[in-house]
Amino acid sequence: MTLQERPDRENLADTGLSETPAERVSYLRAGHTLKSWLLTTDHKRIAILYLISITFFFFVGGAAAALVRLDLLTPAGDLLSNEGYNRAFTLHGVIMVWFFLIPSIPNTFGNFLLPLMIGARDLAFPRLNLLSWYIFMLAGLLTLAVLILGGVDTGWTFYTPLSSMFAHGQVVLAATAVFVAGFSSILTGLNFIVTVHKLRCPGMTWGRLPLFVWSIYATSLILVLATPVLSITLALIAAERLFGLGVFDPAVGGDPLLYQHLFWFYSHPAVYIMVLPALGVVSELVAAAARKPIFGYAFVAGSSMAIAVLGFFVWGHHMFVSGQSMYASAVFSFLSIAVAIPSGVKVYNWTATLYKGHISLDPPFLFAMAFIGLFVVGGLTGLILAMLAVDVHVHDTYFVVAHFHYIMVGGAVSAFFGALHFWWPKMFGRRYSLVWGRLSALLIFLGFNLTFFPQFLLGYLGMPRRYHVYPPEFQVLHVLSSAGAGILGLAYLMPFAYLFYALRYGPPAGDNPWGVTGLEWQTRSPPPKHNFDAVPVVDGPPYDYHVEMEGDEDG
């Protein structure tokens, strides 16, 4: 890839590139006032705003998880009341799903990297991007209001008629918060889709898009198509609760299963909103670590799209014991097996990419390896759950809890940390300690497995989820799980120490510290306000690393 000059290099306003000298140095130097951050339309600054906000919510949600795990150290419910425990896990779920996982990779790294990776100076709608952050923060404040006003105790799933007619907590306020957050998702998704379609630089054809861009594109489609269904559903809950409109409660003429269908029609694709960007990150990390083109680029890109589409047709696998028709269950079981195939293709292709590569064991790759390991366990236990006869037993038990944490925490959060370690030098222009990075990757992997593996056993033993009080024979496994959660919590805190340290004391990163391909590595670290000094032109495939072939002279 080469950088080509536009015709009128002198007229910066015409070229649309960074104008003032400070802006040309770095986006971080383009204004130091609070206003320059809170009213910025620079996608990179908005990404940092998101990074700070979701980190805050990650700790709030993590604190709720810590309460839950502490309470489960003993079979009797002695730390919290039954009601308090229910509020704690509901808060954990609501915050982690809508205020950390869904915005995590798309809104931070997607925002930061998407224009850089396709050679654009910003997203298609920079002001909409800022609006999306404000909407997100409004939703976050509403959620904190729920917390202060006493919480909500329906579980993050808001099942009716419990939520609409029976629960005592701040259900309407919590539903409103999630409703509002939905608009942020939709706007971000729309922005990304338009950006990928319209703002690719010369030569950046669809077949040359980095795989991270493909996965963000697929994610955006889901965001735009699925989120409205959730919004409507939550509005209906509020209508039933406030005005007694009979939609979901049979006592007023509604149908509780209708709610479950609508909810999972959003919430299953939502799992892919969380994990598709993670898959994209890992594709980048694996190629960078192996210094090889991704094996089967078209398959990996296509599998992201296949997952996005198939993901819309498997929601019924959450309802095998709900009383839905036996034939519906059989169809959903089959489709759930089918959706595993594109995921499997990715994993096998990553492994094949490593074959005869030049593999570095730097932190980003260790996080990618942790991701692959945990994602494989999470995915395969998902296949177990897709088996109807097994699901009847393990549905709504800790087996399910373990399974989705392997995907959403082991998978998505590991990828989030992998992305943070890979692109940190680009975002802030500083290197961090590789030793500490490797150590935290290792501790996160071990702590995670100690926390969640025992939960598979608990689930098969018949420990239902959302249980405050449990039979004493389950205690040993619960204590192991809580101990693992302690390690995991500390391991999640570690990167904040050395990454913040690096922010001030780390050595300068240079433009391309990992020696990898990709447009984002061709500009400075941190990038100038409008990303590139000249509009880049792409003239080769992505991941254009040298590969030794049989019969070559060298090697």
């Binding site: 039954n82 099942y159 049979p250 037993h393």
Partner: protein, 314 residues
Amino acid sequence: MSDFIALWPGAASAYSREVDLLIGAFTVLIVALSAPVFILIVVFATKYRRGKPANRRHAPDRNVWLEVSWTLVPFLLLIGFYIWSTHLFAGLYHPPAEALEIDVIAKQWMWKFRHPEGQGEINELHVPAGEPVRLVMASQDVVHSLFVPALRLKQDVVPGRYTSMWFTADTPGTYRLACAEFCGADHSVMGGSVVVMEPADYARWLEETGTDRTLAAEGAVLFRQRGCSGCHDPASTVHAPDLAGLYMRPVPLESGGTVIADAQYLRDSILLPQAQIAAGYPPIMPTFANVLDEEEVLKLVAYIQSLKGGKERQ
């Protein structure tokens, strides 16, 4: 199994041992599918570490068949397991006709069971070993889920409809029973036990347990008390359907079409009488939705089921 730590749940039916076999075999499959990934990643990361000399020359051609095979072979194996598991699951929807029918009412936060002769119990369910038992379940308030780990069975209990679950327990003993669907504050203590007994012991237990009246007999009392008999009695002057022999018979509807008068239809006709009107009758029945609770509805349905057909000969 030690008291210190449990690693595998007890099994109390042939079905539960089949589920164990299925998950055991399936676990072997997924380990076989994932082991190459785990092993190869570690091997490659060691062998092809950056800076370490190794033969890194690639064959000039891609092996397309290899790629197709690692997609196709796992898929075909999965289809095999899909058939096995779906077959087991389908059995859950086909209870034997002679199954002992026990009614279950779930409410925040207790389980109420009624045996056919009227014996009632709360949070404890006694069943005979070796005989098929079918639970017909209704919820008074929110969604609950009856979960018996030793039977590897679970079924949501949904307000507004009947769900059912059947099993043949074969090993006498006491097993845990729990609510698996989050149902509010005391969800985690909405549990109890299933006591599987030798049939003779079960019969003795039925005798010893106080029985007031059978469900159907209680339903007959309600039928008069609530005024149902005023219209539905064969001697009544009001033009209302005769209920004798109605159960499981096809009913032509005013709106066209036919429904089978199963428990769900009887229940809906009591609570939502305007929804499906029998052909040839005026839509004059009032709803009993706010008059009867789930338990009373179950009793009325049991009574209507017990009415043998006068005209019908089978």
